[in-house]
């Protein structure tokens, strides 16, 4: 579910939505979401001083499953 959420947000903010990819690494206590976007779009999902990335992480931490499991967002290049 969070995977879809991250994908939706990323696709809405980048120039090249087709290049957006979110991989899920499930752990016992946490889920790691690895977000990849086109190189030119990295700034659009991170933002100045990481503002956008921080906002996405805040949204994730408020999701209904975050109560039971930690969700970690990594933005890879």
């Amino acid at each position: 579910m969070e995977r879809d959420l991250v994908e939706y947000i990323a696709k809405s903010l980048v120039d090249d939505p087709a290049a957006v990819n979110v991989a899920v690494v499930e752990g016992d206590k946490s889920t790691i979401l690895e977000l990849r976007v086109a190189e030119e779009d990295i700034g659009k999902v991170i933002g100045k001083h990481g503002r956008i990335a921080k906002a996405i992480r805040t949204i994730l931490s408020a999701s209904s499953t975050a109560a039971s499991k930690r969700i970690i967002l990594e933005i890879l290049d």
Partner: protein, 223 residues
């Protein structure tokens, strides 16, 4: 608005202010300017300054039922985006137009999970608002500011900050010790600065780095 009143005691001055302004005691904030207590042969004198909250803009007109629905493609997409993120978080919501102003668009979120959508000190609502604004910018509406609200959180928070500002000013004046407020976003800090701007013996300054700076309230002494 700021006005001054006098009485023999603090209570009397406040009563005079309340009567003349036609307000209840909790409808304004009082700053004691001068206080001379009376003796047996001498009358006391208390001068107070009263701050009424007419600086806050008039309440926005409630939109008619037919106007809360999106009126164009831009509004439709903003509402869709907001709703989609909230449902992705696992919550159901109703998202409508709250107000339309010059370069401002207000969005109302109604949900049984409003408290988590707002978050501690509005953290989640602010994060969502930031994303919605970035999204609006991408649609070519960089000059339109989108304001998200739920359960009247924005106005309630604003009132709470104005109250906090006056209370802090009182405390600083009494103790002559500066007070560092909790970290706030730029909008909230501006409320503190403008609220205390008119109070001559109090000074405010932001400290720290980044988006969430802290306001320090200090005593400047008699002028």
């Amino acid at each position: 608005m700021v006005q001054e009143f006098e009485g023999r005691t603090e209570k009397e001055a406040i009563d005079v202010a309340a009567a003349q302004l036609g307000l209840e005691r909790d409808g304004f904030d009082v700053e004691i300017l001068e206080s001379l207590s009376g003796g047996i042969f001498k009358k006391g004198k208390v001068r107070i300054r009263v701050h009424t909250r007419d600086e806050t803009p008039a309440p926005r007109k409630k939109l008619a039922v037919e106007d809360v629905v999106p009126a164009d493609e831009f509004e439709t997409r903003i509402i869709e985006f907001t709703k989609h993120i909230i449902s992705g978080m696992g919550y159901s919501s109703e998202v409508t137009i709250l107000f339309r102003e010059e370069k401002k668009l207000g969005i109302r979120i109604e949900s049984e999970h409003a408290s988590i959508i707002i978050g501690k000190k509005g953290k989640n609502l602010d994060a969502l608002q930031l994303l919605v604004n970035v999204y609006a910018g991408r649609m070519g509406h960089e000059d339109t500011r989108i304001i998200l609200d739920s359960e009247n959180y924005r106005i309630r928070r604003e009132e709470a900050i104005v109250r906090l500002a006056y209370d802090t000013a009182e405390q600083v004046r009494r103790t002559r010790q500066s007070v560092l407020l909790e970290p706030m976003n730029p909008f909230e800090r501006r409320i503190v600065h403008t609220t205390l701007n008119d109070i001559v013996d109090i000074e405010t300054k932001s400290e720290g780095e980044g988006l969430y700076k802290q306001v320090r309230v200090t005593f400047r002494g008699k002028i």
